[in-house]
Point group: C2
Chain length 171, copies 2
């Protein structure tokens, strides 16, 4: 398995993975009414660094790395991840997560924040904890789960560099 920057040639496979997750309605805020154009803008639009995990010609999953805020919050990254349902349980999410943390450090981000991890998505919560994230907030009933109704979402967070070595704030 290889992780490399995503390109236009990957979009069909990415859209297929994206659509499957949106139809399930269990892990991501987008509904199944999301248009192909919106999906394209999200995954391949400007402002995001997107990577795919591939095995030969097959796309197994992807992630999207962005700044979580503008300006005075721009040192904190955010990211979202999707793994093909047919590749789940094979460590793809973990490899993507590790790659994403490395890429965020490489880009100079000082911390990473997930804004909306669905609390019932226990596999994801467990994985992010293994990769160094902590739950720093709980958003009551913030996610409208297709099967379970309104469930909590977590804010997860980790510092990516020792704060003693963060660049000085120069106004």
């Amino acid at each position: 398995m290889q992780i490399r920057p995503a390109g236009e040639q990957d979009f069909e496979a990415m859209w297929s993975i994206f659509s499957t997750h949106l139809a399930a309605g269990e892990s991501f805020p987008f509904t199944s009414a999301t248009t192909r154009e919106a999906g394209h803008a999200y995954w391949l639009g400007s402002g995001a660094a997107t990577f795919v995990a591939v095995l030969g010609a097959r796309v197994l999953g992807m992630y999207r790395l962005v700044a979580n805020q503008v300006g005075r919050g721009h040192h904190v990254a955010s990211a979202s991840f999707m793994v093909s349902p047919s590749a789940q349980g094979a460590g793809v999410g973990r490899m993507l997560g590790e790659h994403c943390l490395g890429e965020a450090r490489r880009q100079g981000f000082l911390a990473m924040q997930f804004n909306h991890v669905v609390s019932t998505n226990t596999a994801a919560v467990r994985l992010w904890k293994k990769l160094g994230f902590s739950i720093v907030g709980t958003l009551p009933k913030a996610f409208r789960h297709r099967r379970l109704g309104y469930v909590d979402a977590y804010v997860m967070y980790q510092l990516l560099q020792d704060p003693d070595h963060w660049p000085t704030v120069d106004a």
Copy 2:
């Protein structure tokens, strides 16, 4: 003092308030490098409901109400507030906050979330608590404060309707 929807005719005054806060660098992620165009899109662009507090012809402050997420998180509102430095301490923030909560309920939002309340902005934290918000998360060093360096930001949240009466989730 009156609170009414903001219009193009208010933008000069809004831009002046916005610029002053950005120059201070103590409460909002935007830096002082933010362009007028970006400021206009933020306050008067599509997707947001923006209101101003006015006394005669004078704009004392404003808020911007949006959905915090798409789709399955769309029932949670978010908002941001700015008060003219020359009108601080006069209860403008409180009136805007109360109006915003009413407007969010009127629009059908079920909860409200502030994503990034700067922890050192104690007047704001105190006001939001008075208006029913709780700190549900702490983001370590997530705000690059112009004077104080990296400081924590809070996620604040409150339900706007009794969850027993929330609309059913219909897939």
